[in-house]
Symmetry: C2
Subunit: 234 residues, 2 copies
DNA sequence: CGCCTTGTTTGCGCCAGCGCAACGAAGCCA
DNA sequence: TGGCTTCGTTGCGCTGGCGCAAACAAGGCG
């Protein structure tokens, strides 16, 4: 169960190391270390110096940014195969946000210098890095647009959908996400209370089913309809 | 006046070509073409294929993203020396937003293939590109946080400050920005009406002075105080 | 099993900000 | 110079969503 051995195949399937020649995956693999975190563990802290680059192998991680008053926003949700904690490496050497495990999670990590060395040595990694950061910037800009132009219910639908579409296989019986009401609020830019009310309504409508610190998407199509502003099409 | 000749020194002072050896600036320079736009001109359109990478030499440009209902958000403001229109190159080959000249503006542009060739050939450019996109992503994430946790007046202050701090020399008599009330609304995630009310209040308080399609920042310190939520410290 | 912590729900009052409408002002063009 | 277009201002009424408060539910742990 705890077994999530780091193999060349796993690396090759990750967003950052895709397309890397075997020589490269081998080298990256030798330099990585494996760390497992329990649910709720803080993996790194906002404002701390960047010591590692991280690749999630198992579980879910949220990236949270706080302001001076301690109010929080979830900036990104990480799924296995995704890299995180690398932005600061190329800006000021500090983590711009904190990372928290949403479930038991295993990551591979590289020392900062080792990582940037790999990026420089293998153009495939560098190109992947550029592409990934560009994609994330596009996503952030789309979220910015939503925050000003869409209403809460649409934004909640978007938040869930954005995470759901990254699933490879559509799970039958619905996709279960380890997100609390507060998490959803911090994803959609609203409050716990409003998130709860939205989910209760969706529960009644059979669109999504939620329990303690988790939500299951039952009808992605209905969410998509809500997200695009159409009246909840039967 | 119209003269904004593209010299090696100008390239070396830009965000993307900084630190590039003379050989590289020379090559980039030879492959660039210069284009001048009048105020209000659309430089490229959202959803169109990326034909060029752009570097602003003179004037101001806004990057605007629209949703299906035509509601708009300003995603970024460009100042001379900054690169724009490059995100799509590394994602899906389409511009994710449109660019509009806020004032008469001159840009240098490179054909998409030429540009990616330069990025691959000169590691300095590639590293600058990663750094720039990372910085912009951090900024976008900070804006996301503000959108959920700060009130309108703070967000307007932030929008203006974010643009103002990029000025090299603090201009005496205030910094004048070519932004209409609508532009400011689309930057801060509010409406034209509310932006107008905020600016009128600031006008009375002597914090900023605004005219037709322009705002002049008189007291950046007061804006910083508002931005951080402190009561408008005399 | 019972306590404690953490998470969820829901009623209720309130208000920041939206957005219509109407007017006013500035610039552009012929 | 006059008309037209674009941009800005402000009064007014309304409401989406905030956020307190209080009760309830689900685990975790000793």
């Amino acid at each position: 169960m705890n077994a999530a051995p780091l193999t060349p195949a796993v690396l090759a399937g990750s967003d950052l190391f895709r397309g890397l020649p075997a020589r490269g995956t081998g080298e990256a693999l030798r330099q990585a270390s494996l760390v497992t975190h329990t649910r709720g563990t803080r993996i790194f802290s906002q404002g701390a110096p960047v010591k590692h680059a991280h690749l999630l192998l198992r579980g879910r991680v949220k990236i949270v940014q706080s302001n001076a008053q301690g109010e929080q926003v979830i900036v990104r949700l990480i799924r296995p195969g995704e890299t995180f904690g690398t932005l600061g490496l190329y800006v000021d050497g500090l983590y711009p946000a904190e990372a928290v495990a949403l479930s038991e999670a295993t990551e591979a990590r590289w020392h900062a210098g080792t990582f940037t060395g790999l990026v420089q040595k293998y153009p495939e990694i560098a190109l992947n890095l550029v592409r990934l950061v560009c994609e994330r910037l596009q996503e952030a800009q789309a979220r910015l647009r939503e925050m000003s132009t869409e209403r809460v219910e649409q934004r909640v639908a978007n938040a869930l959908l954005r995470f759901a579409v990254r699933e490879k296989a559509p799970e039958r019986g619905g996709l279960r996400l380890p997100l609390s009401r507060r998490d959803i609020a911090e994803l959609a830019g609203t409050t716990m209370y409003t998130a709860s009310r939205v989910l209760t309504a969706w529960q009644r409508a059979g669109i999504a089913s939620s329990g303690r610190a988790n939500v299951t998407i039952l009808r992605p199509d209905a969410l998509a309809a809500i997200s695009s502003g159409r009246p909840s099409s039967q």
